[in-house]
């Protein structure tokens, strides 16, 4: 019956892909598969076209940048050497990595704590807290930057990792996502732990959290990505080149009215690599994770 662990795709759901995979069908259905694959592949190729051009441009000399050809006439790694030889690049990369990682960890912790509380506890003010948190999605960052700056200055957070990170330590998106995911954790699990003498914090941390691991993986990717590419706030809050994050640093490849696109593309290509790695590691979890959220309104 229903004793399958909810964290996994329910058994009955699997055959839609895996079983079909295992079983080559003959006849017209096979052709349909091939056509479907080809069409999806073509669509996928269209999707990555701009990315292919990004990489292509990063391999071009400046004078060739404005040509339409996908394959550079004279491919060069010059741009990569230029970007990577700049000692500051590593500095920025490192800053970004630390900040994105720490922020991700913080989000995983707090978003899930809040999501869990909103999902599993009944207390006065619950709906209010939820709507209030959700409403923070409605304010564009652009408008918050100045108050944040003044705040950072008052507390002496300017030009520090903490200063760059603090606005993103929790997000409403994560809270909402995690709240959905925790709905699929049966209360029995929590009650069993309660009987075993764990306090509420331990129950959340040791029982509930491992059960939503896939969801955490999905959230991790989204948060990491968001912080990895964040630009405006890191720019405003940093005062020294050493503290720049990668996007802020890379945006320096331009002056008053001219931009070195080949370098921008190179930087973009390089900075996609960590996110790609994060995605490749966690992508299976995304599928599973969101399944579990069930999004069952």
């Amino acid at each position: 019956m229903t004793d399958a662990p909810l964290t996994e795709i329910p058994e009955r759901v699997k055959p839609s892909s895996d079983a079909l995979l295992a079983k080559p069908r003959r006849g017209p259905r096979d052709n349909a598969q091939v056509i479907r694959w080809i069409l999806l592949f073509l669509g996928g190729v269209l999707m990555v076209m701009p990315i292919a051009y990004m990489i292509s441009t990063s391999l071009k000399w400046p004078h060739e940048v404005y040509n339409v050809n996908l394959i550079p006439d004279e491919p060069t790694l010059e741009n990569y050497t230029y970007v990577l030889e700049d000692g500051r690049f590593y500095n920025w990369f490192w800053n970004s990595l630390i900040i994105a990682t720490l922020t991700t960890i913080s989000n995983l912790f707090f978003d899930s704590l809040v999501g869990y509380t909103l999902c599993k506890f009944r207390f006065p003010g619950r709906t209010l807290v939820f709507i209030a948190i959700l409403s923070t999605l409605m304010i564009p960052t652009e408008m918050l930057v100045i108050p944040w700056y003044l705040m950072s200055q008052q507390f002496g957070w300017l030009d520090s990792y903490w200063g760059i990170m603090f606005p993103g330590l929790m997000t409403a998106f994560g809270v909402f996502l995690m709240k959905q995911f925790f709905e699929s954790v049966p209360d029995d699990f929590l009650e069993a732990a309660r009987i075993d003498g764990l306090n509420e914090f331990q129950i959340w941390w040791e029982v509930a959290m491992p059960l939503v691991r896939p969801a955490l993986a999905a959230l991790a990717i989204f948060v990491f990505l968001g912080n990895w590419t964040a630009f405006l706030w890191p720019l405003i809050v940093t005062n020294s080149v050493e503290m720049y994050t990668l996007p802020v640093g890379l945006s320096g490849f331009g002056d008053e009215a001219d931009v070195a696109w080949e370098l921008i593309m190179t930087g973009a290509a390089i900075s996609t690599i960590p996110t790609l790695i994060v995605f490749l590691i966690f992508q299976r979890f995304i599928i599973r994770g969101v399944v579990m959220a069930g999004l069952k309104g």
Binding site: H63, L235, V248, S251, G252, D255, E256, D258
Partner: protein, 394 residues
């Protein structure tokens, strides 16, 4: 032992030049350390605007001349000490446009370098088309442009004679160049009143739009996205741009280019636009720091600094005495710009990007909506006046 902070926007050559200046300065003043920070150009203004009012940031800051008023009004920068920077002396030594920085007897800020416009041209395309000399007049410019324009079988432009686009430097050329050359005066009352909705303005606009309208258009707005891109890619014969472009064109492989003064009218009237970035001491600098900042200001506005700036960045010295040396004025590259400074004007903007945007839209109304140029010009003038009125209201 004093440490002061200096901010400017990031551009390789500027950073390099400033590093040299700081090194020299520190050698001469061993008890002062200067730390420089730079920010991406596109967001420099935002950054400075967020930081300085908060009392953060530098002791000496580089600002665009057009922003200065706001900083003065908000008490964010302090006047230069009259004893070190006597007004009469600066009036005499610097290019006259610098006087916009003066308030009564004191200067608020001073530039190291200034910039002006000139006409870049592609020597290889000129050779191919058998053109021997760069244009001297607007008519010649149009003729040459026509010769350099190429189209494919479908009539689409594949090469333009000259670039066009108000988004780049053309709005300066139109305001301070063409209108004045047509005998007009773009603004009155110390740039508080718009005055280009006139015959001269109309003539300047017609001249400008004739480049990209009609069957014999020699260019298109947005050809290859950005004018300098088209020029760098060797697909534009001519290109009007500022002296700051020199560095990036020098780095473009396969491009052989020359530069000449902005074309004159048939009767030889010339006019140019100049602008500059100034250095100012913020109100944050007090006591020792203030003294150090003054010393630093003194050095970076010295003749020596200006020459270094010219050599490294390619920007023009702010003093005629440095700029207009025989050598500089006849330099094949810098010459046209330096000579242009002599007849250059500097627009006092209330909100540069908003005012530029009006020029962009003025042209868009004509090209995209087929509006009568006169009408479009009137709309732009009215809108710009509104911006100015609002700005000068208090």
């Amino acid at each position: 032992e004093v440490e002061i902070e200096y901010w400017q926007y990031f551009f390789d050559a500027r950073v390099e030049a400033m590093e040299q200046l700081i090194e020299n300065f520190e050698a001469a003043n061993p008890d002062i350390t200067v730390t420089m920070t730079h920010f991406p150009y596109a967001d420099y203004r935002t950054k400075v605007a967020a930081a300085i009012p908060a009392g953060e940031g530098p002791d000496v800051v580089q600002l665009f001349y057009g922003w200065l008023n706001d900083y003065v009004e908000a008490d964010l920068i302090q006047p230069l000490p009259a004893d070190v920077f006597p007004a009469e002396k600066i009036d005499a030594e610097f290019f006259p446009m610098v006087q916009a920085m003066k308030d009564g007897d004191a200067y608020w800020a001073l530039p190291t370098a200034v910039r002006s416009l000139a006409l870049f041209y592609n020597e290889r395309l000129f050779e191919e088309a058998g053109i021997e000399a760069p244009p001297e007049t607007l008519d010649e410019m149009m003729d040459i442009a026509a010769k350099l324009t190429k189209r494919d079988g479908a009539g689409n432009l594949t090469q333009v004679g000259i670039t066009a686009g108000m988004t780049a430097q053309d709005h300066h050329w139109w305001r301070e160049g063409l209108i004045r050359q047509m005998g007009g005066e773009p603004y009155l009352d110390d740039y508080q009143t718009v005055n280009y909705n006139s015959d001269a303005g109309r003539a300047a606009l017609d001249m400008y739009t004739s480049m990209f309208t009609g069957d014999d258009a020699v260019t298109a707005i947005g050809f290859m996205d950005e004018p300098q891109a088209a020029f760098k890619a060797g697909r534009a014969g001519m290109h009007i741009d500022g002296s700051f472009r020199i560095g990036s064109l020098n780095g473009t492989r396969g491009l052989k280019w020359g530069v000449t003064e902005l074309p004159a009218t048939a009767d030889g009237t010339r006019s140019n636009y100049s602008s500059y970035w100034v250095n100012a001491i913020t109100t944050k600098a007090e006591g020792e720091k203030y003294d150090a900042a003054v010393k630093f200001m003194e050095y970076i506005t010295s003749d020596e600094a200006m020459q270094i700036w010219l050599d490294v960045v390619g920007e023009l010295p702010a003093k005629p005495s440095v700029g207009l040396t025989e050598e500089n004025a006849n330099d094949a590259t810098f010459g046209p710009f330096i000579r242009g400074l002599a007849y250059a004007n500097t627009t006092k903007f209330a909100n540069e990007s908003a005012q530029r945007q009006l020029m962009v839209e003025m042209v868009e109304r004509i090209t995209l909506q087929d509006m009568d140029p006169a009408e479009s010009l009137a709309i732009a003038a009215e809108a710009e006046q509104k911006i100015l009125d609002e700005y000068y209201a208090d």
